[in-house]
């Protein structure tokens, strides 16, 4: 019975996975944004210096895309957390009614 309520085929399991996925998306956005503009300058000397330093993903950074993805992740996370809250509230009510 409990497997049906919390197991891989349950709604709570799918929502928990969704929350984990959104959290990973958030971490990857944070990593990209924190690696943006890895130098105080964009001149030739800074480019050479940046080449000597540890490589970063700054060249692949796109602030607008990241901010759009951030908004999307936030809304998904909020929806998933609300649905999970409702699912647990339903389970809680069912448990209380039958005890």
């Amino acid at each position: 019975m409990f497997r049906g309520l919390f197991g891989p085929s349950s709604i709570t399991y799918a929502l928990r996975k969704g929350l984990d996925e959104s959290m990973r998306a958030q971490d990857s956005i944070a990593q990209r944004v924190s690696g943006m503009a890895s130098s105080t300058s964009s001149g030739d000397f800074a480019d050479a210096l940046r080449g000597a330093a540890a490589p970063t993903a700054s060249d692949e950074a796109d602030l607008q895309r990241d901010m759009a993805e951030l908004a999307d992740t936030q809304i998904r996370y909020e929806a998933e957390s609300k649905m999970l809250h409702a699912a647990y509230a339903g389970l809680r009510t069912a448990v209380r009614q039958h005890v």
């Binding site: 958030q26 944070a30 540890a54 996370y77 957390s81 809250h85």
Partner: protein
């Protein structure tokens, strides 16, 4: 070039790695702003402690491949400064030219704007992570 030094940041408990990464990103941009302000403050310094004109500083960040920690390097830009003919200047050379620092105020201001915007972006991501954490606590 100075040896890479870890960006100082307050320890943030790893509830969400994105909080730590955004905090590091903000700390890096604050350091950039410090370097830029130092460059602007010394844009007219024709004599430093060693008798030479001020040299523009450039900061670069990267992640340590072993620890994954964000590190900051600061180096002096070796580009020669501009020469201005001013024989009455106390730092003029034998030909009457004064070497000014290789700091371009317009470049520094553009770099300052970029640093400010990236700092804002990191702060936005931090706020988003915080809000997600709050929603998680309400489940």
């Amino acid at each position: 070039m100075s040896s890479p030094s870890p960006i100082p940041s307050r320890p943030v408990r790893e509830l969400m790695p994105s909080l730590r990464m955004s905090a590091e990103g903000m700390a890096a941009q604050m350091k950039f702003i410090e370097i830029i302000s130092e460059n602007i403050a010394n844009a007219q310094t024709t004599r430093t402690a060693d008798g030479t004109p001020y040299q523009r500083q450039v900061a670069v960040t990267g992640r340590d491949p072993e620890t994954g920690e964000m590190v900051l390097r600061v180096a002096a830009d070796p580009t020669p400064g501009r020469l201005v003919y001013d024989p009455g200047h106390p730092d003029a050379n034998a030909d009457g030219f004064v070497e000014y620092p290789n700091v371009e105020i317009t470049h520094e201001l553009v770099d300052l704007m970029v640093a400010r915007r990236i700092h804002e972006a990191n702060a936005t991501v931090f706020q988003a992570a915080k809000s997600m954490l709050r929603h998680a606590l309400e489940i």
